[in-house]
């Protein structure tokens, strides 16, 4: 039984989606920063995909140099504020904190990071300067974290930067696809606005790039192109009845929720199919939207789930039920979803087999498919000589982020198949340096 009431107002929505990592106050930051040991060659830094000098910024917070702390953070990660909130710190920096070895609570690095960047953004402290104009132009496709990071880095080196974005907001999944109890739209957008004010890159919204002609135009107009296109819509499982009214993709569901908030109608019974972090988010969100019963269904065992343990725990704590070793066979209902027919699965000689003799139906009004996002394969076909790997990811040089077509660079989900915001932020930054080196060689 879910513990959440259906939210009927913005305030109730906020209450149901209360932030998991609230902002630290001054006293909390003072004590927490005092605990950092300033480890040599610190494990937290090694664990951070962007290698932020964490002991340094924590010491800077403690010595009341909050602006300097933010500089340290942004110097390594252009989306330092968003990452402080949405990073799975428990498996990254915080998980690496040496205190864990003595059962002392690890330093809350993400929240300290946010404490600094949030103050700096709110005070609109100018930390960065545009580099002297070098007369060269970079086009960026996609204003997700990879694209934003690439733009910021390129601007500091004096490039003119235009970002082409299909939607009406920047940061991609950070604003559209992350659970609202992790980060709010306002938090995401104010960081981009802060960066844009200082670095002056252009974002052209409602400007999807999806034709060969457009790409040719970009190739004509720009010296280099960065692809930060992310992934596409939720991939279909080709199930019988998947086209019924009431079947939605998880990414689409979360996006709608983030934009409509309490105005989104979530029915009483919901089934979420999948075992990744997106499935956990979608299930948790359905429960927080007041669904009476939310069932998470994963085809393999609990241990095999792709989701982090803490994400699963979060969903369970929101009142979500889970079913393991079940695979959907078909969606049942008369035009409209009435349930999902599952078959049990079992491991036979290391392979997952479906047992069609053990079939049952779970009744529901909404099915959320969290079964992975489709790759942008048809878009990649439009670019000459663009090498794609066997999982439809763009192949890049892992230092320069250059693709097989030298004019194109890429980063983020498009090259890793779907990872964290922090990975995309790193890729974008490095790609800008890759572009710079290539154009100046």
């Amino acid at each position: 039984m879910s513990q959440y009431k259906r939210p009927t107002s913005e305030a109730e929505f906020k209450k149901n989606f209360e932030q998991k990592k609230p902002l630290m106050n001054d006293t909390e930051a003072y004590y927490e920063s005092s605990r950092c040991l300033f480890c040599y060659d610190a494990p937290c830094v090694q664990a951070c995909p962007t290698h932020i000098d964490i002991p340094l910024f924590i010491k800077q917070i403690h010595t009341d140099n909050v602006t300097g702390a933010s500089k340290t953070i942004f110097d390594s990660n252009w989306l330092g504020n968003a990452c402080g909130i949405v990073c799975p710190t428990g498996v990254l920096c915080v998980g690496a904190c040496v205190y864990n070895h003595q059962d002392v609570p690890p330093i809350q690095i993400g929240r300290l990071q946010n404490y600094a960047t949030n103050k700096t953004i709110d005070a609109n402290k100018k930390l960065f300067k545009v580099g002297a104009a070098n007369g060269k132009k970079i086009a960026i496709v996609g204003a997700g974290p990879a694209g934003i990071a690439c733009a910021c880095e390129a601007r500091t080196m004096g490039y003119e930067v235009d970002i082409y974005e299909a939607k009406d907001k920047p940061t991609g999944l950070t604003v559209h696809g992350i659970a609202p109890y992790k980060i709010t739209n306002e938090e995401v957008l104010k960081e981009v606005e802060y960066l844009q004010n200082q670095l002056g890159f252009n974002i052209k919204y409602h400007s999807a790039i999806n034709s060969k002609e457009q790409l040719k135009q970009l190739e004509n107009d720009y010296d280099a192109i960065f692809l930060g296109v992310g992934l596409g819509k939720t991939a279909t499982l080709q199930l019988d009845g998947e086209d019924k009214n009431g079947v939605v993709g998880a990414v689409e569901f979360i996006e709608e929720l983030r934009m409509k908030k309490h105005l989104l109608k979530v029915p009483k019974k919901v089934v979420v199919v999948g075992g990744g972090n997106t499935a956990m988010d979608a299930a948790s969100e359905a429960a927080r939207m007041g669904a009476r019963k939310t069932v998470l269904a994963y085809r393999n065992s609990k241990e095999k789930m792709g989701a982090y343990g803490f994400e699963y725990d979060l969903a369970i704590s929101a009142g979500v039920d889970s079913l393991f070793n079940v695979t959907p066979i078909s969606i049942v209902g008369n035009g409209k979803v009435e349930g999902v027919k599952f078959a049990k699965t079992e491991m036979v000689e290391g392979k997952l087999k479906t047992n069609m003799k053990n079939v049952f139906i779970v009744r529901c009004d909404l099915v959320i498919m969290a079964t992975g996002q489709a790759k942008q394969g048809s878009f990649y076909d439009l670019i000459d000589d663009l090498e794609i790997d066997n999982k439809t990811r763009i192949s890049v040089n892992n230092e320069t982020f250059q693709t097989s077509n030298p004019r194109y660079f890429a980063g983020g989900d498009a090259i890793n198949g779907g990872a964290e915001v922090v990975n995309a932020a790193y890729d974008g930054k490095m790609a800008a340096q890759g572009i710079h080196n290539w154009l100046n060689n």
């Binding site: 001054d26 006293t27 005092s34 340094l56 010595t63 140099n65 602006t67 300097g68 500089k71 340290t72």
Partner: protein, 444 residues
Amino acid sequence: MIDLSINFAGIKAPNPFWLASAPPTNSGYQVMKAFEAGWGGAVWKTLGVPVVNVSSRYGSIDYRNTKMMGFNNIELITDRPLADNLREIEEVKKYFPDHAVIASLMVESRAEWEQIIKDVENAGADGIELNFGCPHGMCERGMGSAVGQEPDVLKTIVGWVKDAANIPVITKLSPNISHIIDPGLAAVEGGTDAISLINTIKSIVGIDLDSYAPYPIVDGKGSNGGYCGPAVKPIALHMLKDLAQHTEISKVPISGIGGIETWRDVVEFILLGATSVQVCTAVMHYGFGIVREMEAGLRQFMEEKGYNTIYDFAGKALPNVTEWKHLNLKHKVIAEINEDKCIGCDLCYIACDDGAHQAISLPNDANNRIPSIIEENCVGCNLCSLVCPVENCITMVKKDDGKEHITWNERTLNDDVPTTFNDDRAGGKGHFVPKPADALKHKS
């Protein structure tokens, strides 16, 4: 454009962050590693006739969860042959010609001083620092702080050194003296080009409760050590101030030493007149990387205040450090408690009631622990705000209108100060104090 480079008595360095003469500057390996990490200069571990050291050399004081708040050592000067040190100094200068390498020296006779000065000059040292401060071991042999405590001897040796040296000479002073002006002035009169201070303070950091020996324990016994680390900073700042405010002494530059760990410490030393800073304990605790925080913070401070070099603000606090008799007796602050922030620990209440002026009261309500200030009793002493564990919860608020200004000095000149034991002009006359027997009401 911020430029951190300095010219300290003719010794040039890319920044004011120097390593003090101590274990971190024992070898060329360490000094080069430090320069790579961002240090601008290093004062080599004191050279002289090499010593023999003991095993177990350091002790420290932890305060709550803070390790090494205070640190002491009984290690002596270098135990490596002079030739090895000279060769490494030469090598370091080859790799880092623009960084400052200063040779700390400690020998006895004039002939030894003349010889070792020639040697370090030939090795390429940019300057010399005279170790007149070491308060353990070496002083028993008539060197180190034994010299720093005898201004006349100090002046004579500085004279010898100045006669022999062609490179700038820094005299490092011992704090183990009641009046720092005396050795400071003696150094200047002897002709020193600069002064550095403080060296370590004579100390015993603790006694082992099983073996009854002081730390660090050497086979059941111990000796006094030299105390340093964050705990000594206030002593260092005060001695620095004394020298920097002195008309004659302040003609030479001063290198500040003593408990420096963060950018704030660095700025404080500079504000009191230091134009280079030397660090040891923080490096012994955290490694050379600690300089990152110092440099980033110093730059941030200078950028926000609009300074281009450290000389733009060096000594800027000196005019504000004055004698007590020149403080404004009409200035009045009282404490204010932010009830929204208060967490009800009531440390301010008990600190004020037991340790100060009985100016905080608790509500007569078992469910409410928020204390309040009794304004008419509050003397503005700060104690409550100092003990309060919550940031910006207790603040001291100015209550006077700033129009009146009178100092003890002025009142003395006006014959308006208490002169008899029961003078009506006593500052505390009429000030509320609870009746002695009220104390017994607390007994339950």
